[in-house]
């Protein structure tokens, strides 16, 4: 990589204070996101994906605490890198949306029901020092057009007058209003019908090219991750278990959990739809097992797995995995490029 990451997550840990003890929802997570790059964070629900996303913009609930780590943001060539976790309230407010927009999981409820879309667009711009209402409106209308909405109608509507898919796209457009460097999407297509899902994927692909933002998207929809992402981060029980280029991870997974996830979904792009769900359930995040957190559910597990947690290490160029037996996993399908080569 020639240029520097726009967002660099370093050893981030988040815990929730519960009556029984600390719920370690995110454990020592590190990865970089480069400009114009799309990173998909995948994993079962409850694996810490959403907590991680909320921590990046510091929107965790009161009971959550960031116990360690840094989130370094490099705004541009000229601005100095800052640690998001150390920003004061005023700086944080400016960072949110202007630099890093987060589109929420439940788009249905993410808009204020008593304000028109236009008001919510304008107040967002005003909050970041954009006072030219005319220009903001033009930009919003252009963005609505980009996400394939009827711009005028949507701009003057109340949220309840729009369908779920339309609201999701409004939110996406609103996220791009200030041309942020990083956009975080949390499960952007759950609760939407397949047709709307496709529209959103197409729209994202095109806008990403045009505007050049980095995209982090949190999903348990592997087919969507495969289609959109450049790199995949697999999370299990709060920590990263595998990270690598999308084709590497999907065709040559080096962690049994990623392998399990892929076997758990039907293959959308044709082929045998052999559904194998991962047996067992995720571990108790208050009282984690001693060795590898996935060992109790893993068919490759040996004695050492229950004793010693495997470190996240490079197993192939740009492909890291936290598994003792990463080299025993099958190759799912040859990469198209390597087929051509050899």
């Amino acid at each position: 990589m020639t240029h520097q990451p726009v967002l660099s997550i370093q050893n981030l840990s988040v815990a929730y204070m519960a009556r029984r003890g600390m719920v370690k929802a995110v454990r020592d997570v590190s990865f970089d996101v480069f400009p114009s790059e799309t990173v998909a964070v995948i994993g079962e629900s409850g694996c810490g994906k959403t907590t991680l996303a909320l921590a990046l913009v510091r929107l965790l609930s009161r009971s959550a605490k960031i116990t360690s780590g840094k989130v370094i943001f490099r705004g541009g060539d000229h601005s100095a890198p800052v640690d998001v976790l150390r920003l004061n309230q005023r700086q944080l407010r400016a960072f949110r949306w202007r630099n890093c927009a987060m589109v929420f999981q439940s788009a249905l409820n993410a808009l204020n029901p008593v304000l028109k879309i236009s008001a919510q667009v304008q107040e967002t711009a005003r909050a970041h020092g954009e006072h030219d209402a005319k220009r903001v409106e033009e930009r919003a209308l252009w963005l609505f057009q980009q996400v394939r909405l009827d711009p005028r109608r949507v701009y003057n509507a109340y949220p309840h007058e729009l369908s779920g898919g339309m609201r999701q796209r409004v939110l996406l457009a609103l996220g791009l209003l200030l041309d942020p460097q990083v956009v975080i999407l949390d499960e952007p297509t759950t609760a939407l019908d397949v047709l709307t899902q496709r529209t959103i994927i197409e729209v994202l692909k095109r806008l990403r090219e045009e505007m050049g933002f980095a995209l982090i998207f949190i999903s348990h929809d592997l087919s969507m991750a495969a289609e959109l992402a450049h790199r995949i981060v697999t999370m299990y029980a709060g920590s990263v278990v595998e990270i690598g280029q999308v084709n590497e991870v999907f065709y040559r997974p080096k962690h049994p959990y990623t392998l399990g996830l892929m076997r758990a979904v039907p293959n959308l792009s044709g082929g045998r739809a052999e559904l194998v769900s991962i047996p067992g359930s995720p571990p108790d995040l208050i009282d984690l097992p001693k060795g590898c957190a996935f060992a109790p559910r893993c068919s490759y597990a040996q004695a050492i797995c229950h004793e010693q947690a495997p470190p996240l290490e490079m197993r192939a160029p740009g492909h890291a995995s936290a598994c003792h037996f990463w080299d025993r996993l099958p190759v799912l399908r040859e990469l198209p490029s390597s087929q051509e080569v050899g």
Partner: protein, 360 residues
């Protein structure tokens, strides 16, 4: 995927008119208005039945009294009663009913028996404004104060402030509102001697003549302090507790979180996001509470000798002044219905989902 209908043919005027009318009938405002008119009509009719048709009805009692006390014949007594109610009791019952409704529409509510032939409408016009003023002011203050306290309690939940206000509020809202004057009179008038409670009778200093001078306005406010304070104390706990619960549920809404993510200023989120959404359900309760405050006003005015419509109703009941009773009862009910309507309209202005009639 552009979600719009692109029919370019202009719709006919008739079709436009029809959709407009349909929208009017479906609109929240129209339905609220219709509901209010229907309720008022129902109250008028039920009152008519009570006054005229019930065995032992006020008309019968009045006629009996006139016969026994003034030695009139039944016929004379009946015609005198007819003059007081301004309804001809010899006419067929449906004619009486329409006569009664017609008189009401013209503002003719009959003549008071106890205050020598003063038209009932005059008495009401003189005293009802004071009740509406004090009750309205009390409700307004308690509502605004309750919203503020409730929001603070939600933001600082489980703090000392929250627990202290919750306890006081739950106790205050369980005391019957008309018993608060006793406590206020004791504390303010007897114990602390802040106001000459026993001498403050009426709605303003009797030495002054009504005018828009600062002196007169100050006197009006001074004399209204105790009733208004009573309404505020009896209502504020309820509003604070409701607002706290409502705010707590709004704080858990995704749009509040999303507003933070959008980097909106705290103030903006507090007012336009949390405050506005959390207070919405309270506006529907506002309508219901108008009735209970007006009801309590009867006794509260009596304790403070505040010369509003409540005292008049009490006196009318004591003197068996049926035309006056009927008139006051009707006016109180109509005021409550109108206050309900007002609260409804306010609510529909604040919640776009209701305004467009798409919600139910």
């Amino acid at each position: 995927m552009v979600e719009t209908s692109l029919s370019n043919a202009p719709p006919s005027i008739l079709a436009v008119l029809r959709t407009r009318i349909e929208r009017l009938f479906k609109s929240y405002l129209f339905r609220s208005l219709l509901q209010a008119l229907f309720t008022i009509w129902l109250v008028l009719s039920v009152t008519f039945v009570l006054i005229r048709l019930m065995p032992g009805s006020p008309v019968d009692i009045l006629v009996d009294r006139l016969v026994s006390e003034q030695g009139l014949t039944r016929e004379e007594a009946l015609s005198q009663a007819a003059a007081m109610f301004s309804v001809n009791f010899n006419a067929p019952i449906h004619e009486q009913y329409f006569q009664y409704l017609g008189n009401l529409l013209r503002g003719d509510l009959g003549v008071s028996i106890s205050s020598t032939n003063t038209p009932v409408i005059e008495i009401i016009a003189r005293f009802l404004p004071w009740t509406l003023f004090s009750v309205g002011l009390g409700l307004l203050i308690s509502f605004v104060l309750g919203l503020l306290l409730g929001m603070l309690m939600a933001y600082w939940r489980n703090s000392f402030f929250d627990i202290a206000i919750s306890t006081v509020a739950s106790f205050l809202s369980s005391i019957p509102n008309y018993l608060l004057p006793i406590i206020l009179i004791y504390l303010i008038g007897v114990q602390w001697k802040l106001l000459p409670v026993a001498r403050m009778r009426g709605t303003y200093d009797p030495k002054l003549t009504p005018s828009l001078t600062p002196e007169f306005i100050a006197s009006v406010l001074l004399y209204a302090i105790l009733p208004v304070l009573t309404y505020v104390l009896s209502q504020v706990g309820h509003w604070a507790l409701s607002m706290k619960n409502s705010t707590l549920s709004v704080l858990g809404e995704e749009y509040v979180n999303a507003a933070h993510a959008r980097g909106l200023p705290q103030r903006r989120i507090l007012i336009a996001y949390v405050g506005r959404n959390a207070s919405l359900p309270l506006f529907t309760q506002l309508a219901l509470s108008v009735g209970s405050v007006v009801g309590g006003a009867i006794i509260i005015e009596l304790f403070f000798m505040y010369q509003g419509i409540g005292i008049r109703l009490f006196e009318a009941i004591g003197a068996r002044d049926y035309p006056l009773m009927q008139g006051i009862f009707l006016m109180i009910t109509v005021s409550t219905v109108l206050a309900n309507l007002l609260a409804d309209l306010l609510y529909s202005q604040l919640d776009p989902r209701v305004r467009l009639g798409t919600n139910k």
